[in-house]
Amino acid sequence: MSTNRRTFLSDLGTGFASVALASMLQRDGFAAENDSWSPPDGKPHFAPKAKSVIWLFMAGGVSQTETFDPKPALNKYGGKTIAETPLPNPLESPLIKNRIELVKGDANGKIYDKLYPMQVGYEPRGQSGIEVSDWWPHLSECIDDMAVIRSMWTTASNHDAQLQFHTGRNRFDGFFPTIGSWVHYGLGSLNDSLPQFIVMGNKIGDCCGGKATEGADYLGPQHDGVTMSVDPRNPLPFAIPATASSAEERARSQELLLRLNGLAAEQYPDDPSLTARIKSYELAFRMQTAVPEVVDLKGETSATHQLYGTDGGATQSFGRLCLTARRLVERGVRFVQIYHGGGGAGAWDAHSNVKGNHSGNCAKVDKPIAGLLKDLKQRGLLDETLVVWGSEFGRTPGLQGSNGRGHHNFGFSVWMAGGGIKGGIVHGATDEIGFHAVENRHYVTDIHATVMHQLGLDPRQLEVPGRKRLEVDYGKPISEILA
């Protein structure tokens, strides 16, 4: 590796990442042409409202009309085609132009025009009286802390929208850094013993972006999300030695290693990568202890376990992820990305039996997510932790088969809570049947922009020379939902 002559690794806090990037850009000739450019220093660009993000992603496409966006018109006209109702044909809306990007021959591309009634009831909840479907009994109790955005849209109509939700770009454009990696790239560490961008849960399938939905692409692999499992036996790739050894034995050999590398550093005082490697080992060894500790939930009280549903039943699996997420942000992890139902098209992909599918999935995640919000709040962490819940797209107002809904990218819902977000409000709206987002429409990068804004980051200041970004990549913060 070439020597970076300007500075070397003043502090571990900002990581080797920026140093390595600086030297690599310099070698590529970018830095030489842009003398004013330097990698992020890990400090926010302006006063942040939030320190950490918990990003909850439901894979497969959650039906907006059965969760957060009630549409009585569907009940009224259920069974009729749109032509048989007085409603305007959504396919003739100007909003549909250039919004369909279909894979040829993909059965999912059809528009289902026979309206299908809502499969669940709604009630006004909380002080705010926002309507939430009956499949969210626990989360409903938190509605006054949540801002529901009912006017999302995206362009991919198939599950590669999962990638798009995370990078802001359609799969056909290629791969780009994800929101988590931008945050990781932009902000310094709050904890020197833990990775700062952690990914948990059932991973996105290769069909739909796979690793790239948590990747950093051109920002460099050091900004990729680090996959963590909640299995205390093997929480990180290579975190647990392949053969068992005692803590004492490990401590001894690690000490020897640091000493031998120290001797080498005396011999090669002019080799900066050696210094960096010594520090990387120190961090790695701290991570090795810190990570198993953080996924060990034994010390949590039984009240906490009940709150998250980790005490048993359908909520156990997702509850563990949510509880672990709280423990991570408590320890200063910046970005925790949790998937529910990843793999293949995704668990929420209810082409048939939307009722059975969604009631079942909600039952798995409702209590854990509500537990997370309540727990963060009671610990005073909700103010500084931004929780984002979403899915790659919604589902059709029309019927597919006998009891399902198809993919729907023209209008769907996302909610956010904590981290300086206004609670108890609804922002944006879809049309009468939940087809098009019509009021305060937001493309997915507006969510990214809002996250960045709350963390005190200006995405334009994170530009990497030589990497052209489009206007749409930056998005705009949704100012109406900010407290």
């Binding site: 590796m1 070439s2 020597t3 002559r5 080797f16 990442a17 390595a20 690599m24 070698r27 590529d28 000739g29 042409e33 004013s36 894979v103 056909f172 791969f175 990775p195 399938g205 290769d206 069909c207 796979g210 690793k211 460099g220 692999p221 990729d224 680090v226 299995d231 990180l236 790739p237 290579f238 975190a239 647990i240 030695p241 392949a242 053969t243 034995e249 001894r252 020897l256 290693l257 031998l260 590398n261 001797l263 011999q267 090669y268 002019d270 080799d271 990568s273 050696l274 960096a276 490697r277 010594i278 990387s280 080992y281 961090l283 790695a284 060894f285 991570m287 090795q288 699996s317 793999g343």
Partner: protein, 1096 residues
């Protein structure tokens, strides 16, 4: 000299200008031309009005030229901005008049600055240089070999050094000394073969004191097959090798079977095929050697860019990356407009595209696999310029013909190529035919296996029937004289139908259904612990009455952590028993055709099941009675439902990771007594058993028909092949007679095929067991196939010469465009190809190129300091038939390659030497801190592949099997082959490699190494690190700890330990109670030593 490369510098200053503009522009403060005016002109005007393109005869890239003006007269009138044409143009209201024509108008501040400058008299430095004509750019000039400078430094060994030494002299640099020999050996090993020397190799080298010792080592390395693998990976970076991403049929960005191109690269490098020939084959093997199956693999280069959804994306990638990789030209910048820096017009981009416009890729059958290759399929497709690069807006007024950029002097002759029959009709080739025969032979082998298995099944069914006749009450009996199952675990007279110790996962025996199954250390491992059932299903069926023994460990998982053994498996249907570490029980479960599970209460028993503990799970079934034993202890006796159907065995996990040691399944010995009672009153026995015999017989019959059909298919293929070869003039023979035979064989094969299908339909019908849906479907199939069979039989009666072709036919001519392009690229007159190739090779020897921008030798790469060396090497490269091995040898045997990377020489320098060197070193550091002039060697991190492969190699475990389809990316810790052979695409890469900054598949002209804690964890904790350090610690000599430590350093780091290191390590070993463990730990520590991943 002031080149257009400086434009970028001006653009860079622009940012600060904007800061200045935030304040007021005051008429009384002098405007600085260099700081305030030139950046504006550079950013907005130079692209049309500079040396590059002198629109309207006007140049604005120097104040003197600006004043001179263009075709419309003077651009400015000094002191009078109001009368200046320049101001008139930039302030014009009419957008058609206004300059610049593209983008936003100049801001009012910019205009104000220009006015003020003019009004103040438009002063500019007198010595402002006038940029040269970009066509005179160094890299666009024909290659002329410079003479070698005279240099006398003591380290100089060959002509390469003379160029470097003369630079040292010019800049007052003093080279460090040569690296110690051991360090040099390690350097050249990793460099040439990507693996370090072993201790024995090190010792042999150190003992060889001949002056030729190093050269001999180099020759050996270049002759090693490992050389091709190492350098193939480098070229795969440059040529963007990628396995396809996507899933199922939604393949993207590349093609299946692209790995043949990887094999071609490895083989070509090992054979030292000329770089020129390699380019010809990659771009146009289908035209240069149209029926050479080996050469055709090279066109994988074109197939790699294949993009299903948009032809333009595909062609864009080819134009961009062929230009970058072979020519060092960013031609892609000229797709939407004229190139901003280089003298390349937009139409020239599309003329380059025209070379590829006519091509397509296809898969030629190689039996069970394919050769993916390029061919000209669309010879008449026109190429149009896309206006502003917008593919929706092609300029159809003018079709563009293929041509190379004018600045490169591009004359070339394109001649269409008549292809031989073996190219446009590839099935005529012996290789293709042999591959097709191999596929049929596999079917024949499978049929033989089926015959063997089905005949065993008939025997077993008959035996069950016979037993039931002779002892009809056995299953309910409670005869204490019969040995109980538990006492007979280890003894069995019965021959097993399945016996597998899982030393490998044999695809002939098992079907894999999901999960991630690997084999390591004698265990079969499944390490996906999510809540999905992952199964291995035997290809063979088990006897109706059987005993199965599975030894296993549950190692983890999410919640249930269940591992099971299934039987009667047919589709989703199965009966099974599992151990659950999450539920602490053993449980019988019955899974129906829809995949739904039933958990009978009588089939469960609570017992603690621990992780990482050996369990022997045993299932014995006689008719409907089932016993489950764990570690020889009977836990459950259970009565299965009456409708058992024949099926297969499965081994499965559900939300569990697990290891399996072995499985054995054999017929249940007649005298074994099972516990419990079958509770049903229905005595299913005799009729059921009779039926089972009939089913087994039917299956045996089908197996025989299957064999007959496969054999007839082989005859048919062979006869048609012979006939077609004669027909196309490739062989001689009586065409008429051959055609008669071919026709007949084909019709016979059809009859055999339908006979098999009819038999299968009949079996299906008999097994429909009253299910009306299945019965109807089976009847429908049967009727259709019976009719087809009758038709086929009828056709046998007459003589005919009609028969089916062997495979698809393709166009008989090729445009010759790509071959012409490839010959032009590699022609002596092309100034770029050899320079670019030499630069790539130099980079990988020195971790530093001669021209910084690997893919851009255009105007943004100002004349490099090492141009003479580059040109000298490039000419020599061409003159030596583009031999890469000769170039490598020249470079690595040079003196500059042998320089130390440190002034400290491995700690051997005395205090006095040290300070003397240190002084010289400090002076050099000051003059040339980035080592631009190579006064020492660069220190670098070994590439991802080298790190992994080296550990395996030094541990003595590297599997050097070459070639073949990519290995699953997540088997990097268990399959011990070189890293180059693992799948790598955008979505799937071996995690170990990506942690160490492995190649990016989209563009990787140069790797970007980082240092990260995840790398530390991978080196410290991975299975490879553990197993290899264990193996190595045991293999190294070590009567004493000192001897061991020395041997270990020599083997792993290729050097002796220093006194302090020896002391530390020996102390570590002696503190540890368990000596062998301590040595293993120390070995692991050394694999983690910075010097292991570092090349000094």
């Amino acid at each position: 000299m002031h080149t257009s490369g400086d434009i970028m510098k001006w653009v860079g200053i622009l940012a600060s200008v904007f800061v200045l503009l935030a304040g007021f522009i005051r008429a009384d403060e002098p405007v600085d031309y260099n700081k305030q005016i030139k950046p504006i002109l550079a950013a907005r005007c130079f692209s049309c009005h500079s040396a590059l393109r002198q629109e309207g005869g006007l140049r604005l890239d120097a104040a003197s030229l600006l004043k001179k003006g263009g075709d419309s007269g003077q651009a400015i009138t000094d002191g009078k901005s109001a009368q200046s044409l320049l101001i008139e143009k930039v302030t014009a209201e009419d957008p058609d008049e206004r300059m610049p024509p593209e983008g936003e108008p100049l801001t009012s501040e910019q205009i104000a600055l220009l006015r003020t400058w003019i009004d103040q008299g438009a002063s500019a430095p007198d010595d402002e240089p006038i940029p040269a004509d970009p066509r005179k750019h160094w890299a666009f000039q024909q290659l002329v070999q410079p003479s070698v400078p005279i240099a006398t430094a003591k380290w100089v060994r060959n002509d390469v050094d003379r160029f470097i030494a003369s630079q040292h002299k010019r800049h007052g640099l003093k080279a460090v000394d040569e690296a110690p020999r051991s360090l040099l050996l390690r350097r050249v090993y990793l460099d040439l073969i990507g693996l370090p020397p072993t201790r024995d190799e090190l010792r042999a080298f150190l003992e060889d004191t001949s002056p030729k010792a190093f050269e001999r080592a180099v020759d050996r390395l270049l002759d090693s097959p490992r050389y091709g693998e190492r350098w193939a990976r480098h070229w795969m970076d440059v040529w963007r090798y990628s396995d396809p991403s996507g899933y199922g049929k939604e393949i993207r960005d590349s093609r299946e079977h692209i790995w043949r191109w990887r094999d071609w690269i490895v083989e070509s490098l090992n054979a030292d095929k000329g770089y020129d020939r390699m380019i010809v084959e990659m771009l146009a093997a289908d035209e240069a050697s149209p029926d050479d199956v080996d050469d055709l693999r090279a066109t994988g280069f074109l197939a790699r860019n294949w993009y299903k959804f948009n032809r333009n994306v595909w062609l864009d990638n080819i134009v961009e990356h062929s230009s970058k990789a072979f020519l060092g030209l960013t031609l892609n910048c000229a797709r939407c407009h004229e190139h901003k820096y280089d003298p390349i017009a937009q139409h020239e981009y599309f003329q380059m595209r025209a070379f590829f416009e006519t091509h397509d890729v296809r898969d030629d059958s190689l039996g069970s696999s394919h050769l993916v290759r390029a061919f000209d399929n669309k010879p008449t497709t026109p190429t149009y310029l896309f206006i502003q690069g917008d593919e929706r807006n092609p300029d159809k007024k003018r079709a563009l013909s293929p041509l190379v950029p004018e600045v490169l002097g591009g004359e070339l002759k394109i001649e269409p190529i008549e292809l031989p029959a073996t190219a446009y009709y590839p099935a005529l080739q012996p290789k293709m035919h042999e591959a097709a025969l191999r596929t049929i032979d596999d079917e024949i082998k499978k049929a033989h296996e089926a015959i063997e298995q089905t005949s065993k099944a008939v025997e077993a069914a008959n035996r069950s029937l016979a037993n039931s006749k002779s002892n009809p009450t056995r299953q309910r009996g409670n005869d204490s004289k019969k040995p109980s199952l538990a006492r007979r675990v280890t003894e069995s007279k019965e021959k097993p139908v399945i016996a597998d110790d899982f030393s490998k996962l044999d695809p002939i025996r098992w079907t894999i259904e999901g999960g991630n199954w690997t084999v390591a250390d004698g265990w079969l491992i499944q390490d996906h612990g999510d809540t999905t059932q992952y199964r291995l299903i035997s290809k063979a069926e088990h006897p109706r009455d059987f005993r199965a023994t599975l030894s296993l460990q549950i190692t983890g998982g999410e919640v249930y952590r269940s591992v099971g053994l299934g039987f009667d498996v047919e589709g989703k249907t199965m009966n099974a028993v599992y151990l659950s570490a999450g539920g602490s029980k053993v449980q019988i479960t019955l899974q129906d055709a829809g995949g739904k599970w039933a958990y009978p209460q009588t089939g469960a028993k609570s017992i603690p099941i621990k992780l990482n503990q050996d369990y022997v799970l045993q299932v014995a079934v006689r008719d409907r009675l089932m016993n489950v034993l764990i570690d020889n202890k009977l836990l459950v006796a259970f009565a299965l439902p009456a409708n058992r159907k024949p099926g297969k065995i499965s081994v499965w996990t559900f939300s569990a990771t697990a290891k399996f040691d072995s499985i054995q399944v054999e017929p249940l010995a007649a005298d074994v007594q099972l516990a419990g009672k079958a509770t049903s009153s229905a005595p299913a026995t005799k009729q059921d058993l009779q039926a089972a015999v009939e089913v087994a017989k039917a299956k045996a019959k089908i197996a025989e028909l299957q064999l007959a059909a496969a054999q007839a298919g082989r005859e048919s293929l062979t006869a048609r092949y012979k006939t077609e070869r004669v027909k196309y003039g490739l062989d001689t023979g009586d065409a008429e007679q051959l055609a008669l035979a071919a026709s007949r064989e084909e019709r016979v094969a059809a009859v055999k095929q339908f006979e098999e299908l009819v038999a299968r339909d009949r079996l299906q019908l008999s097994q429909a067991s009253g299910d009306p849906k299945k019965t109807t479907a089976a009847n429908k199939n049967l009727a259709a196939h019976e009719k087809q069979l009758a038709d086929a039989q009828a056709k046998l009666k007459a003589d005919s010469t009609a028969y089916t072709k062997l495979g698809p036919m393709h166009p008989k001519t090729s445009t010759g465009r790509r071959l012409a392009l490839a010959r032009w690229i590699t022609g002596r007159q092309n100034p770029l190809a050899a320079r670019v190739a030499v630069n790539h090779i130099w980079l990988r020897h020195f971790d530093q190129p001669l021209v910084e921008r690997m893919f851009d030798f255009g105007l943004r790469s100002p004349r490099p300091d090492h141009t003479e060396l580059l040109d000298w090497l490039a000419v020599r490269f061409m003159e030596e038939d583009w031999s890469m091995k000769k170039l490598h040898k020249l470079i690595v045997t040079s003196g500059v390659y042998r320089l130390s990377s440190s002034y400290k020489h491995d700690g051997q320098a005395s205090e006095q030497d040290d300070s003397k060197h240190s002084l010289a070193h400090r002076a050099c550091m000051k003059i040339d801190p980035d080592n631009h002039f190579l006064w020492r060697m660069n220190v670098r991190r070994a590439e991802a592949e080298a790190v992994r492969d080296s550990m395996l190699h030094l541990g003595g475990s590297l599997d050097v099997t070459m070639s073949g389809p990519p290995i699953t990316h997540n088997q990097g810790q268990t399959v011990l082959r070189r890293s180059i052979y693992f799948r790598q695409d955008k979505e799937r890469q071996m995690i170990f490699l990506s942690l160490f900054d492995g190649a990016k598949v989209n563009e990787c002209y140069r790797r970007k190494p980082t240092v990260a804690p995840q790398q530390a964890l991978a080196m410290y904790n991975s299975r490879i690190a553990a197993t290899q350090s264990q193996k190595l610690a045991a293999a190294l000599p070590g009567k004493s700890n000192e001897e061991f430590v020395t041997a270990l350093f020599e083997h792993v780091l290729c050097r002796e330990p220093t006194t302090s290191e020896l002391k530390e390590c020996v102390a570590f070993l002696s503190e540890h109670q368990d000596a062998s463990r301590a040595r293993q730990q120390l070995t692991l520590v050394l694999f983690n030593h910075n010097d292991f991943v570092t090349v000094r």
